[in-house]
Amino acid sequence: MKELVETLAKALVDDVEEVKVTSREENDVLILELHVASPDMGKIIGKQGRIARAIRTVVRAAAVRKDKKVIVDIVQ
């Protein structure tokens, strides 16, 4: 899951080195925190959060197979 978010983010940003994903579990929910360089924030959020929504849709689809609840958080 973590790698999926990493691969998605790296394909979209300019500063690949700054892409970091941390994961933790809280009450059976997997929380993935995505961090990118600040000039790249727009590239993973998009107009009206459209890119972030697409990322979450893809991650959610992958989670269904693993029967897990996943939340993707984009952090500064």
């Binding site: 394909a11 890119i51 697409a54 990322i55 893809v58 689809a61 197979r65």
Partner: protein, 208 residues
């Protein structure tokens, strides 16, 4: 994107060294001459080496294909991405593999999300004309179009019978266009879209 800067006595030599280093052929790279060589006085004083920057050419379609294959693999599905020739300004990329339901999702929402992301990847660092990519899997696009046309005709019949308008569920622009097109020759029926993306809906009503 691999890139390298190399100095040598001549531009040709520098490029040759760079290609060897990158293990690429001349047609796979862009060459930028940073400094022309100069002989200097008597071939000794002030002579300058040639300096070139050799950068891997980005092939947006190849990149996008690799992106989709990587993502699918991380989602637990092995796919092959077949790139179809351009048609009407659109390039269709077809995901081929077993059990692709997970990549399509409910009403194609995962396929649409992947398509949106694939378009971003294809047009990132792309200096040429904007590429428009349609993503398909298991012939989903054609099947969905057929379903939507049937739905449109059925709902239009209902509107004609009852005289009351029908609001369809939210659809993306491509799907709404299929509905509008399917009913444009119905002389008793009007269609329009209302609401804001991504919740815009088609309304089918009697022509007033």
């Amino acid at each position: 994107m691999k890139s390298i800067e190399i100095s040598a006595r001549s531009v040709e030599e520098a490029v040759k060294m760079a290609l060897e280093e990158l293990q690429m052929k001349e047609n796979e790279v862009n060459v930028e001459v940073l400094e022309e060589p100069s002989k200097g006085f008597l071939g000794i004083l002030g002579s300058k080496m040639a300096r070139v920057k050799v950068t891997e050419k980005v092939d947006p379609l190849k990149n996008t294909r690799k992106f989709l294959e990587d993502i699918a693999e991380k989602m637990g599905v092995i796919v092959d991405v077949v790139v179809k020739p351009e048609k009407g300004g659109y390039i269709t990329m077809e995901l081929v593999g077993d059990d692709l339901g997970i990549l399509i999702g409910r009403r194609g929402d995962t396929l649409d999300a992947l398509q949106y992301l694939a378009n971003l990847v294809a047009n990132k660092n792309n200096l040429g004309a904007r590429l428009k990519i349609i993503l398909d899997a298991e012939n989903y696009r054609a099947r969905r179009e057929e379903t939507l046309i049937k739905l449109a005709v059925r709902m239009a019949d209902k509107v004609k019978k009852t005289g009351r308008k029908i609001v369809l569920e939210p659809m993306n622009p491509q799907e709404r266009r299929i509905i509008h097109t399917a009913l444009q020759h119905e002389d008793q029926i009007d269609t329009l879209s209302e609401g804001e993306e991504p919740f815009r809906k088609v309304v089918i009503s009697l022509k007033s």
